[in-house]
């Protein structure tokens, strides 16, 4: 709300802050206890790249999406052997090659594939797969080996490398997460603190009154405090500043696509709005949950893949209409695929490798990687052929423009989707 904007002692953007300080108001105008991040951002005068920056949108399919029924090898007899009831007949798949088809509820993704802006990387996984939701999610989020434990996320480390020394105290969020069930995803956690912002699917949280906010602005974080209260103060301060700005950006945003009425699509609409609003955010993270289909998978997965396909299509169309599509790369991931052989409950149990989608106008569309071998006994899992860190490495090297070796701790072969 603009009223907040006018009465706050805090600037709503780093630029505005620099303008105010440059205009002679000076740091002292913000009191002796000016928040550390503002002091830092004043000292670091190099502006963050705000034009033509590349943006990554991560879509987490939480629960473990069944890859075999997402990208269907309809010419492979083994597929129908493994999936006596869940197998999707060749006549119903949405063909993307002579042997592969998308799930019938992915019509929009098929259209994007035909337009050349969708890449599907087959059979992505990692050695010694873990079948626990939490451990495997952690492996994907931290980009660690199966037996290694890292407490930072791969995007967090990217921000560590890219933004250290630059105005790290800038309170414009470098990463935004929306609709994530557990708050900030581990993916975004770095060894340095980075400004991140969380949104509910339908917009920024409503805060307290103007008067309380002005008082709370003085409960500023003490530099270097690592305890919970410092963390809360830092988050609150970032929130107060960002909240005003984000609310305004989203309220002013005019989407040029019709988004479906569900939280996932609303989240994507907000992301489009924030990108169009010129936030310097490099990474957006959104979650679509419910893929843990142990029982009666067909209906649930069809609904979820439909939500995914239609949401992404609206998002892409919106970005194109705003001529922002060249700046954005969208990628899906899930903690694991599911067991190739269906279980006796018309569902599938936790498995290993699965395909993932990469979407964007500058994506080299098509099918990449190689298909899993399906000549496995009933209770066996797939063996991955593309390491997920190859996908991350490609995004880092070729999209975000940050050397992947430092983030991933070693080289991984490029997957040429961009």
């Amino acid at each position: 709300m603009p009223a907040h904007h006018r009465t706050s002692i805090l600037p709503t953007t780093r630029r505005e802050f620099l303008r105010l300080t440059g205009g002679g108001i000076g740091l002292l105008a913000f009191g002796r206890f000016a928040p550390a991040f503002l002091v830092n951002s004043a000292l670091a005068s190099a502006p963050a790249p705000e034009k033509d920056r590349s943006i990554l949108v991560l879509v987490q399919l939480a629960g473990g999406n069944d890859g075999l029924n997402t990208l269907i090898p309809f010419e492979d007899a083994n597929y129908y052997r493994l999936r006596p009831t869940l197998g999707i007949p060749a006549g119903q798949v949405l063909r993307v090659s002579d042997t592969l088809g998308l799930h019938p509820s992915c019509a929009q993704l098929q259209r994007l594939f035909q337009a050349g802006s969708l890449a599907v990387v087959e059979n992505v996984g990692y050695p010694n797969p873990n079948r626990s939701h939490f451990r495997s999610t952690e492996i994907w989020e931290t980009a660690s080996g199966s037996g290694d434990f890292i407490n930072t996320g791969w995007v967090g480390r990217f921000l560590d490398n890219t933004c250290a020394g630059a105005p790290a105290g800038n309170h414009d969020p470098l990463a935004v997460h929306i609709n994530t069930p557990n708050g900030e995803p581990e993916t975004l956690v770095g060894s340095l603190p980075h400004p991140t912002f969380g949104l509910s699917p339908f917009g920024a949280g409503r805060g307290g009154s103007e008067e309380s906010r002005r008082l709370l602005e003085h409960d500023s974080p003490s530099p270097g405090g690592g305890d919970q209260v410092s963390f809360l103060r830092q988050t609150l301060m970032d929130t107060l500043v960002t909240e005003v700005r984000v609310q305004k950006v989203l309220a002013d945003y005019k989407p040029e696509a019709t988004y479906p009425g569900n939280p996932f699509a609303s989240s994507l609409r907000s992301i489009a709005g924030l990108i169009a609003g010129g936030l310097p955010t490099r990474v957006y993270f959104v979650t679509l949950s419910g893929f843990d289909t142990h029982v009666n998978q067909a209906e649930t997965q069809a609904r979820l893949l439909g939500t995914l396909s239609e949401g992404l299509a609206a998002f892409q169309q919106d970005l194109q209409a705003h001529r922002l599509d060249g700046q954005v790369l969208t990628m899906t991931f899930s903690e694991f695929g599911r067991r190739p052989g269906e279980n006796e409950s018309k569902g599938t149990d936790h498995g290993t490798a699965a395909p993932l989608f990469v979407l964007g106008s500058r994506v080299r569309g098509g099918i990449l990687g190689s298909a899993p071998k399906l000549d496995v006994p009933k209770n066996q899992d797939l063996t991955y052929s593309t390491d997920f860190r190859s996908v991350y490495g490609t995004v880092l090297d070729r999209w975000l423009g940050s050397p992947s070796g430092k983030v991933l701790g070693g080289p991984f072969p490029i997957v040429p989707f961009v």
Partner: protein, 499 residues
Amino acid sequence: MSLSLSVGDAWAPLPASAWEEQAVRHLLRRAGWTARAADVRRALGEGLPATLDRLFPPAAVAWPEPDSVAGLERDLPDFHRQVAQAMGEAKRKLRRDAFERSQAAVRDMSVNWMELAVVPENSAFEKWVAFLGNVFVVATEKVHNAAYVYRHFEILASGALGPAPQLAKAVSRSPAMEVYLDLAENRTGAPNENFARELFELFLLGEGNYTEADIKEAARAFTGYRIRPATGRFAFAPRQHDDGVKTLFGQSGRFGGDDVIDLAYCQRAAGAHLPRRMAAFYLGDLRLPPEYEFAIGDRWRTEGAYDLRWLVRNFFGSRIFFAPEFRGNLIKSPVQLYLGLLQDLNLDVMPVPRFVLNPLRQMGETPFNPPNVRGWIGGRSWINSASLGARRALVERLFTPLDGAALTADEQQDLVAARAGGKSRFAMTESDLDAWMALSPDQVLGSLQENFLSAPPNPEFLSQLRQFLQGRATDPAEHRRRVRRAILTALESPEYQVC
């Protein structure tokens, strides 16, 4: 992390001399929702052991079945008969109606539980049951039957302070669990591993303390666990059960589900697992080193015979629980924030589900619906800009009079019923501020800190609040407004979010 106590001293009982006001507040806020002045005085007089006896009473706190849930249970046999007879669209409609009815019952039940838990005498027990519910997780998102979820929490409450293996066995028979982890789909020749995996990983042992083969064998042992549709109660189906020999943890036999639980509790890891979960829930993000977990875990197994009351007394009565590194640094869960606010302000739970459940959802915790089988992980994961905004909005709401015109007819009826039951304090009124009006600005700040804040506020913030309270103190209406705003701001502050 450096701890102030060695592993040998950590779990020794807190000396009586250390039982002072700040220690009392620490226990009351961590074990329950908050520390009201009267409760602090009482506990200080009673001493720690007697206080623990009172917080964790000998008999489970009774949670009377909400009417909407009872109605669902009563109609269940009839519903199954109707569904069996119906066809096509009629069948779908029956199912949809039942689903919607259950959703409504879940909302009703959630408010009802909040009403139970906000009673100060029930707080520590209900928080303990909520903790157990965050270990033995079920979620209404998958269990579309409010009655099953209610019965699940009844199982947890009735076994909450008894032998842990007995509770785990009861949970394996809980219809909500059967549905949530697909146990009802597990049968001979077609084992479903979902329950067996989470039983070891999350409920009893923790990752790394079992093998994939143990899971496969355990899944076979749990075959035949069913729900009888007409009654909605557990039933064992011998013909669905795999009676063959299984090998787990190096032992072989024709094991059933209960045997698997007993075998798991023979593992040393079982003793340390629940204390580890308790430390995460009650002590916070600082993880105890494994040797501390084993120190209490081994004693729990040998001296305590896996009795949960033994564990509760030895955990909350220990020196480590009161150690300085665990004071004032636990981020309150949304439910604790909400119930603590109500207790601090002496307010009643608003009997209108959306007014209670929307703020909880926006803060990230919908009762009975954790995001996944690991439950809420708590700590910093509660806090982001959206949830902090929602926390502040909740405080504002509790200081805003209810707008009767904005309620639906049903909601107005609920409100009338609540008032008839003696509950009418749903928001702070002007007269609630009377006691504060006589205080000087410094006394107001002192009272806010002593009663509400577990961590010291920033001096600059305090001085701004003081200035704000001093401004226009001669105008009584304006002064009252400012006192109200100062209380609100303290409750929205970072320092109120921790305990």
